[in-house]
Symmetry: C2
Subunit: 172 residues, 2 copies
Amino acid sequence: MTTALTTLNSVNLGALGSLVKTIQDEPTKGDTTWKASTTWDGGFRTTTTIRDFTPYATDEPAGLGGDDSAPNPVEQLIGALGACLAIGYSANATVAGIQIDELRVDVEGELNLETFLGLSDGNAGYETLRATVHIKTDADEAAVTELHNKVVATSPVGHTLSRVVPLTIELA
Amino acid sequence: MTTALTTLNSVNLGALGSLVKTIQDEPTKGDTTWKASTTWDGGFRTTTTIRDFTPYATDEPAGLGGDDSAPNPVEQLIGALGACLAIGYSANATVAGIQIDELRVDVEGELNLETFLGLSDGNAGYETLRATVHIKTDADEAAVTELHNKVVATSPVGHTLSRVVPLTIELA
């Protein structure tokens, strides 16, 4: 049974279990810090570096004054939500013994450009966000609904977006 | 003077100006919709597609049960903030006639893993976020401070993170 569980959905349940035990024994181990560094490349082009991974580009569409060479920040922001939900589904499905055959998360959101462009003093950010989960699994509807509710209740990116995060932006 | 302005910081001010005029003439043109789609690849590996750009990967570190093959969602989330602030700096500096020689934005944030791991019912998202802007420019301190304040007041990703966004997550 242990063997079957650790290979379900190709998820490494052993590592997750070790982390849970570590944090249960010493709760401060649950406190984590995450970092990203973005360098400006001219125009609206930037490069973001995270740990030792290959840096990736961000830009704006031509209509917004960019060179349209890469996704823009508000797209990458909601891409992070889709990835977070997919990972949450994979983790919680595996713990519940549910095999996922296919999974896709589509995210979209509405944003008014007036504040970004200096035409008003309102909200420059997303007005609304919607994520739609497409899952293919043999699990019954009740199990999938329970899985969904668990993912929504525990999503780091979902919680970040749906709450007020104390955000400090300062000049070095 | 127009020529000098449109080449400052390699920013296409003409495109931004056209967009501003379009929205002033017809405010509903400021309403935009942005999309991202994430496909699960097994384990905690996912691929996110935005418009026609090359899809990019997300994963989790080994300690969190992933294969550590790419940044994770909470890192990509704050990377989007850094990119957004850098673009905001570039746009607003150019409008103000300020030449940017170098610009880097570092973002970091604290997040407690207990909720994500199902050990508590609290906040799974970031507790705090800090962005630090490193700019090299000949502009005087007052001009840079004014620029900074304008960027903070108009950042789409900054506003999204520091406000409650109505977020719907549903099964297809």
